[in-house]
Symmetry: C2
Subunit: 146 residues, 2 copies
DNA sequence: GGCATATAGTTAGTTATGCAACTAAATCAA
DNA sequence: TTGATTTAGTTGCATAACTAACTATATGCC
């Protein structure tokens, strides 16, 4: 039983260490080699805006699983690079709608190709069913804890 | 096919966002509620030292999947809290062996119990076989990229 | 022995994260 | 309508991450 218990801590350690470094690092590297100055965190925000433009910061928090200060600062940095603009909502003056600029729209295809390529490299030898299981497990974990 | 491709980027987004925040945040919170002042990153270093004490910083890099500057500063902070000590190796003067102090040894049982409890909460409704699949997938991903 | 190369660790600079405390606007209720 | 509560976003502070450049020691080759 102590052995069984210990393995859960280990699982945490493995998931946290591997997932959040190896893939992220490779993707970041591929971005840089392609001459792109964006971080993967910034990219994850753009990713959701490409799916649906002009989201509120709160909505970006929900979709990227980040807290509000993190999003505030990611948007700050994206705005400095002229990739997004904060547009005050007309119906609720508390809300900033975060909208893509034209340069950001042009990044979509290239960066998504790079992400696909990176994930393909990462997933060599992994069965499609297992990928679905990983997604289900993380969804369940997220639901359990929030 | 474009749709299929898009889903891999999404997978990255899901794994990175969910795994590295929800579980980590909960575990950190449980540590703090128990009056422990350590971060989960610091804990992950201690975790490997409890399994094998007096590892070199390079060995801690390998086992925690972190780079050298990250480990340098984690050890700096752990040393400030008197949880580890850097001991120069007698056979190779480049090497610091990182060794646990007595206070750190006393933290082992409590923090591992908290980690187990957190992972149990996180994994409610997840089948044991699926947990093993997740571990295998992440091992494979890590091997593919390093 | 002596020089090139590899390895262990540190430092500096930028970005990101979490938490707590804050402002401003909207909503709800008496 | 006014006063309390909720929601959206920002700011300050501490820790952690990556990269690149650095020092110091060890190893390998001639």
């Amino acid at each position: 039983m102590p052995n069984n218990h210990f393995r859960r801590g280990e699982l945490y350690s493995v998931i946290n260490g591997m997932a959040s470094t190896a893939v992220a690092r490779r993707l970041q590297k591929n971005f840089r080699q392609a001459g792109l100055e964006i971080t993967i965190e910034q990219w994850s925000v753009l990713y959701h805006l490409w799916k649906e433009d002009c989201l509120s910061q709160q909505e970006l928090c929900n979709r990227t699983f980040r807290d509000k200060p993190s999003i505030t600062r990611l948007i700050d940095n994206l705005e400095k690079q002229s990739l997004v603009k904060r547009m005050p909502s007309k119906t609720d003056r508390r809300i900033n709608l975060v909208c893509l600029t034209d340069p950001a729209k042009n990044l979509q295809q290239l960066t998504i190709d790079l992400a696909n390529q990176t994930m393909s490299e990462a997933l060599i030898g992994v069965k499609k069913e297992d990928i679905d299981i990983v997604k289900d497990v993380f969804q369940r974990v997220y639901d359990n804890l929030t």
